[in-house]
Symmetry: C2
């Protein structure tokens, strides 16, 4: 059993573009942070654009089965301009999130000391977006008829279940209890009345069990405003798959760039491994030049450690990154240099 003693099997999926450059840095940080406490056996998975272009496979079933047996997954980034949009995203990234039932897409947003925000007066920013990860518009339902004709109709269906929403809402309330006890539901219930109403009812219902948590509701459009004008107001945001995708990129920009934003695709029931990845993409424009910032990937490794229960090791990564950004955040450094600098502080 992989969990015997202090040995963990970690699936490594570097993926595409800068994913291949930053993931090794995250692996090094993982190993060093855990020190004697735990040992990692890295299982490499050759998945992504290169593989697809070579042999046409995206995520073969037997490799998905192998992934299911791992203790956690470390992911770089998926996406390549040579492959039609959606093929790898839907076939690989989203397939992993869905098949491994990673229903909590956890995205902490924090303005680190030493990073300059594009906002004139950012204030203190420290919130977490709890994004639903296995349904909504990401379900892949929808289709088209009369493709390529003037009569084409294309649909996209957002599928939302009480089961799916309630479990992620519960997770968000528990998280809010461990933080500043403020929860914001973001949706568009004045237009998406079916799904929005269900989310609101479930937040109200679960909220009764957490009377200490202050609740508010914001439409997605209003929330994009507050992220710019008053990001300090947020503690925990809970929202659906698409709105969470949009908000976390905007939030990443507000705290100085998605280069500092880590995320976890979490199967909170532990039935399958959780997956950890920077929220940025594969950045084909800068790939291969050794200039990508590995910080978000390293922070993702920290989230992975915390998820395995290795709280101390996770704390070591968090502190090393904080220090590094505070002291060297504004220095221009290459991928390896940032990796080494952080490693030295772990």
């Amino acid at each position: 059993d992989a969990k015997t003693g202090t040995s963990y099997h970690i699936a490594v999926v570097p993926g595409d573009g800068i994913g291949r450059e930053i993931v090794p840095q995250a692996q090094a940080a993982l190993q060093k942070a855990a020190g004697g406490q735990a040992d990692f056996i890295f299982d490499d998975f050759d998945l992504g654009a290169e593989r697809y272009l070579r042999d046409g496979s995206i995520l073969p079933d037997d490799e998905l089965d192998r992934l299911k047996g791992e203790d956690a997954i470390l992911l770089g980034a998926i996406g390549d301009p040579r492959v039609k949009a959606g093929v790898l995203e839907r076939g690989l990234l989203l397939r992993m999130r869905f098949e491994l039932d990673q229903y909590v897409n956890l995205r902490p947003t924090r303005l680190y000391e030493g990073v300059s925000s594009p906002l004139a007066d950012p204030g203190r920013i420290d919130f977490v977006v709890v994004r639903e990860g296995t349904e909504g518009l990401y379900a892949g339902a929808g289709g088209s008829i009369r493709r390529g004709t003037p009569q084409e109709v294309a649909t996209e269906v957002s599928i939302n279940t009480a089961y799916g929403a309630e479990r992620v809402i519960r997770y968000a309330f528990r998280l809010a209890m461990s933080r500043r006890r403020r929860l914001t539901l973001v949706h568009k219930k004045n237009v998406l009345t079916n799904a929005g109403d269900m989310w609101q009812r479930l937040v109200d219902k679960v909220g009764e069990e957490y009377p200490q948590v202050e609740r508010e509701y914001l439409h997605i459009d209003a929330c994009t405003i507050f992220l710019v004008t008053d990001p300090g107001r947020f503690d925990v945001i809970v929202t659906d798959n698409l709105f969470g995708d949009i908000l976390t990129d905007e939030a990443g920009a507000v705290v100085g760039g998605v280069g500092y934003s880590a995320s976890g695709c979490i199967n909170a029931d532990g039935t399958y491994p959780s997956m950890f990845e920077p929220i940025h993409g594969s950045a084909p424009d800068i790939a291969g030049r050794g200039v990508a910032n590995p910080t978000a990937a390293i922070l993702s490794a920290g989230m992975l450690l915390r998820n395995l229960g290795l709280e101390e090791a996770a704390g070591r990564i968090d502190r090393a990154v904080e220090e590094d950004i505070r002291e060297l955040g504004s220095t221009r450094r290459g991928t390896d240099q940032v990796g080494r600098d952080i490693l030295d502080r772990i």
Copy 2:
């Protein structure tokens, strides 16, 4: 015929909350800007929360028919906390947009001199979002089963047609030709592969007729980043109904608040009247206090004039607002005062 001579019938729908305070200012500006050039007959429509709470009606068919005979519609804002979310939005605001086939939701975004942006270094910001207004997730398709049980499933269906997308894309290209000739398609084609692919194909197709227009594509999440880090890059953004809703609120925040953002729901074929409204909401928290900023409503009146072909009058409003903001933008003034100050400059 309402169009005989220089007389126009304008439907006035103040709506809810601050809508009732700002619309009279917009009417005054309209009248003064047109001077002798045109005359306006205002037809008041009592629609919105008060009416609904009084007699249960939202948009009676005969009133919709009367609206169809007007030359244009001036709208305040719709939405009231006493009415369940969606009832007025879907039943009144969206019903007007859909039944009057206002397929171009035009939303100019400009950082006026004298307004302070929340961005540290905003640069020059001047772009227009061309938002599709009659389909997508706003179609109202979707429903739920087993409501209120743990087995509830709620769906929302985004319906997209080549007919609907192509006409708004054409509008956007024509607009880009009259501006800086740069068009950005925003979608999420790596996940919403059916609709996203159709939009991209249509942009490519129509784009061939406009070789002078430079095209780019951005995912909605990436676009929310650029709105914060580099809003100056945009000229014309074309996007679907929901993404347009989200982007224009964020854009409004970036240029110093939605208080300066006007919009037009335009039936570009002229079969039915177009509608002009500020992009902000009814702001129940400040309603009735005479503090709401009528600038966006007045700018909407300017868009209305331009739509009627009264270009000179529209220009008078634009210049008056520009001057007012430049000279008094940072002064705290009530609704009436701002209205008077702008009126004086027209």
